[in-house]
């Protein structure tokens, strides 16, 4: 669990701090993009990246195992 001692709460004004519920002292900073993608998992199956995750198997299988992956 990432806590942020120098976090947002410390940057609030005295009045701001007074008006904040306790949970503001324990905010969790995360990269903004991570949240948008969190439900999308793309798995690197062979040569294809199934971006949308809606079709997860190879349609044809033409390329051989001897070639580098």
């Amino acid at each position: 669990m990432e806590k942020d001692p120098e976090g947002l709460f410390a940057r609030l004004s005295p009045e701001g701090q007074e008006l904040s519920p306790v949970i503001y002292r324990h905010l969790h900073p995360r990269a903004t993009r991570a949240t948008v993608l969190r439900m999308a998992e793309s798995r690197p199956y062979r040569a294809t990246g199934y971006v949308c995750g809606s079709f997860r198997k190879p349609i044809s299988r033409c390329l051989g195992p001897d070639e580098p992956r």
Partner: protein, 320 residues
Amino acid sequence: MDWLEALGGRCVRLNGDDIEGRAALRFEVADGEVSLGFAAGGFELPLSEIGAVWFRRWLYERRHERVDLLDPAADNHTLHHELRRHLSLESRRLSDFIYSRFDHLPWLSHPRRSSLNKLDVLQRAARAGLATPATLVTTEREALRHFCAERGTVITKPIGEVDAFVEGEVSHFLFTTALGLPEIDALPERFAPSLFQEMVDKVYELRAFYLAGELHAMAIFSQNDEQTRVDFRQYNRRRPNRNVPYRLAPELAARLRGLMDDLGLETGSIDLMVARDGREVFLEVNPVGQFGMVSRPCNYQLERKVAELLLRKEEDGKRP
């Protein structure tokens, strides 16, 4: 949507974005007939043809709340805030109006009933015979200390929804957090009203999707992972938690059904925790809960069930 088409229905998807101006919006009242038109995909939507409405989410992230409205950016914060406030209001008025055009139709579920108050829900849950975590809303450090002494480890969470403050590349999340005595002692004697609950010593969590009387439950094992131990929404993508189908005991299912009836909800996702002592503790209901999270790992085919329900509703709605 694919199921709706496969089962013989026709449907169209309206996103919050479409209203915001991403697609050209045309809404006309002429000679008593009302129609909605959107440029994307080029279709017209005569209201008279709509049979049922399925409400998922609406304008989760409003564009005007994210961008700099003034140029040069935000030298005058108050003015910026004023502009934003009004834009939000305008957006809201339009949404309300559009919803009201569909008032006469069957909904799954109506947004008016969808804004639940967590504290109210907890109380109703207790009345329905469900175990709920001991909860305290207070401004007093002393009351909190006392609560902690009685209940053990305490967690704090927002009274409303989990939210985040976006600051460019970083977002500050209001995840549920555990508080130890040192953190409590560091608090001022008095603070803004905050919500605290006893931390349930959980073995695993449950998420059940409720759809017109039926419950479809899934167990979530997150104990192994420090990151998700307190709040399973802090997903660990590299080693996802275990999500498996779960069979609810009939009495528990009946009580949950009673709660959903009391709240007037036909659908929603219900979160519970199973404690070490076997107690199944109710946490909250999300009326527009995403069922994909439960349907996919458990292969419950909920997409099909929702489609079938919508078509049934449309049929029922047509009968005089």
